[in-house]
Amino acid sequence: MKPAIDYLLHLADNALVLGQRNAEWCGHGPILEEDIALSNVSLDLIGQARLLYQLVASLKGGNCTEDRLAYFRDTHEFRNYTLLELPHHGPLSGYAQSSLDYGTTIVRNFLYSALMALLWEALEKSTNADLAAIAAKSLKEVRYHLRHSRDWLVRLGDGTDESHARVQASLDHLFPYTQEFWAHSPAEAAAIAAGIGVDVTTLKADWDSIVDAALEEATLKRPALSGYVTEGKQGIHSEHLGFLLAEMQSLARAHPNGVW
């Protein structure tokens, strides 16, 4: 059961953390139509996270609930990719502040959605029937997220000189974080062995071709990969997740016996 729980938490935390990040745009988008579009993406992701946490809670039993898992675990217990917790701007220390940058948002959504479009499809065949059902539902959603982010990636890349430069900078900043996708964590390895999870490395060639085709259309240059491989999915995060969770969990933790 432990491999299943760890693996499901990885998928759930990915969805929640990115859903939380994307919701930051609600009320601040570049145009009203995009506020609405990005809120939809966020709602899909939070919906996925809830289903996965509910599944974990049912496996754990006792008085575990989706909200216990989302609100009462600490930073080191979160299993999301580091990519997803980063703020919507270029590289900065944890407590530094900057404006939201739409290019960063789009590039991240694109890189992650391209992976999840493949991963959810593969997970439809998971031996865990509940996970397979969640995968089928999430697949439809992520295909739309991929379409939305890819469309914008092309528009920004092949838009104005300014947008091209900005989105290339976002890509240069975020692309190295995708190395984490392909480095198995022990939890992933155990889940693959148990037939619950999918070996992501088998998806890499397809991911590469989705990414390369989009980058070419967007006239963007694929950054070379090297250097530090992040380990968020093993609980070793950037400085940013602590702030994200401190904010997200503050109210629930201030009223541990509260009912909402």
């Binding site: 609600c26 609405i36 609100y71 939201l100 104005t160 947008s163 997200m248 509260g258």
Partner: protein, 335 residues
């Protein structure tokens, strides 16, 4: 979500709209009046008096601005929503407000004013929006109270607008009202649940009600006696029920809801009047209302600056999309 019946003139230069019939073609004017009197609808290409057009643009755009500025006070709690269910509900709700703003801008655009022009009015501080959004949301209970009271007040105002004489506005309002019905219920239900919780939670709800109650009463706009534009609005069928009538309706509907919820409304003068068959209520602080309308409320500057920032920082994104579309078009034409 929306709000006070907008008789509030936009600032600089926007003098009170001329009430007297204009010097326009009397035959057209007569046909227009006849249609209004017969409770008919006016569509974008129909002839209409300039004052009617201007009033509508002002009212609809103020309504649209209210929706998008109104995203901010509630959006303030999205990141901290205390459960995933409430987080999803709140995102969906704030998103709806954005959608309502969009429907309304579209309705106003049929009158020949572009969204950019309207946004320029908002960003430069000329155009007004509902004063209620210039108050801060200090606790999570504010989110529930806004749903229950602010959206409740808004619905009172909006339902009659579904029968407004201007077709596109009426149709937008039908769509808005359909979506809005979930807003008030989710707010009230969130409060009901909190009232079954801890003592701190109950206190949080009561505190939020205390802070928002009077502001909600003011949302319906100045008393009828002080609303010179109301009569013209009624005549034109773009306002169907007077400010005071709506306010009374709201008070009468809310008092029993407060009882069920288990909170008190902060008005010692609030009591049932057997003779009138309505609740009497105390004196609204109109000074505070006008101070806030005129830019001096607790959050006016923050709200406006936030809208301006989002718009300015989104310029490169909007430009890129347009530049890309132009490139694509050029390629298509060359092929």
């Amino acid at each position: 979500m929306y709000t006070q019946s907008f008789n509030v003139p936009d600032s600089p230069g926007a003098k009170t709209v001329a009430l007297a019939p204009s010097t326009e073609d009397p035959a057209l004017q007569a046909a227009f009046d006849a249609r209004i009197d017969a409770d008919g609808r006016i569509e974008p290409q129909d002839w209409m008096p300039e004052a009617y057009r201007k009033t509508l643009v002002r009212q609809i755009s103020q309504h649209a601005h209210s929706e998008i500025v109104g995203m901010l006070p509630e959006g303030n709690w999205i990141s901290r929503a205390p459960s995933l269910k409430r987080k999803a509900i709140l995102i969906a709700k704030v998103q709806d407000e954005g959608g309502h703003g969009l429907y309304l801008y579209s309705a106003a655009e049929t009158l020949g004013t572009s969204r950019d022009q309207m946004l320029d009015g908002l960003h430069s501080g000329r155009a007004k929006y509902s004063s209620i959004f210039n108050y801060p949301t200090l606790t999570w209970a504010d989110v529930g109270v806004i749903g229950w009271l602010v959206d409740g007040a808004a619905i009172m105002n909006q339902v009659p607008l579904c029968r407004c004489s201007y077709g596109p506005y009426a149709r937008a309002m039908v769509r808005v009202c359909k979506e809005e019905s979930f807003h008030q219920r989710q707010g009230y239900e969130a409060l009901l649940v909190m009232m079954t919780g801890t003592a701190e939670q109950k206190a949080m709800v009561q505190d939020a009600v205390n802070r928002w109650w009077w502001k909600c009463l003011a949302m319906f706009g100045p008393p009828d006696a002080d609303s010179p534009n109301s009569a013209q609005g009624m005549r034109w069928g773009i306002k169907r029920v007077s400010n005071d009538e709506l306010r009374q309706k709201f008070v009468d509907a809310t008092v029993p809801q407060a009882k069920v919820l288990g909170v008190t409304l902060p008005d010692p003068d609030l009591k049932w009047n057997e003779e009138r068959q309505h609740y009497d209520y105390g004196q609204i602080d109109w000074n505070e209302f006008w101070e806030t309308v005129n830019g001096n409320g607790p959050c006016n500057k923050e709200r406006l600056a936030t809208r301006v920032k989002a718009h300015n920082e989104g310029q490169w994104v909007r430009d890129a999309a347009l530049a890309h579309a132009a490139k694509k078009q050029a390629m298509k034409e060359a092929a």
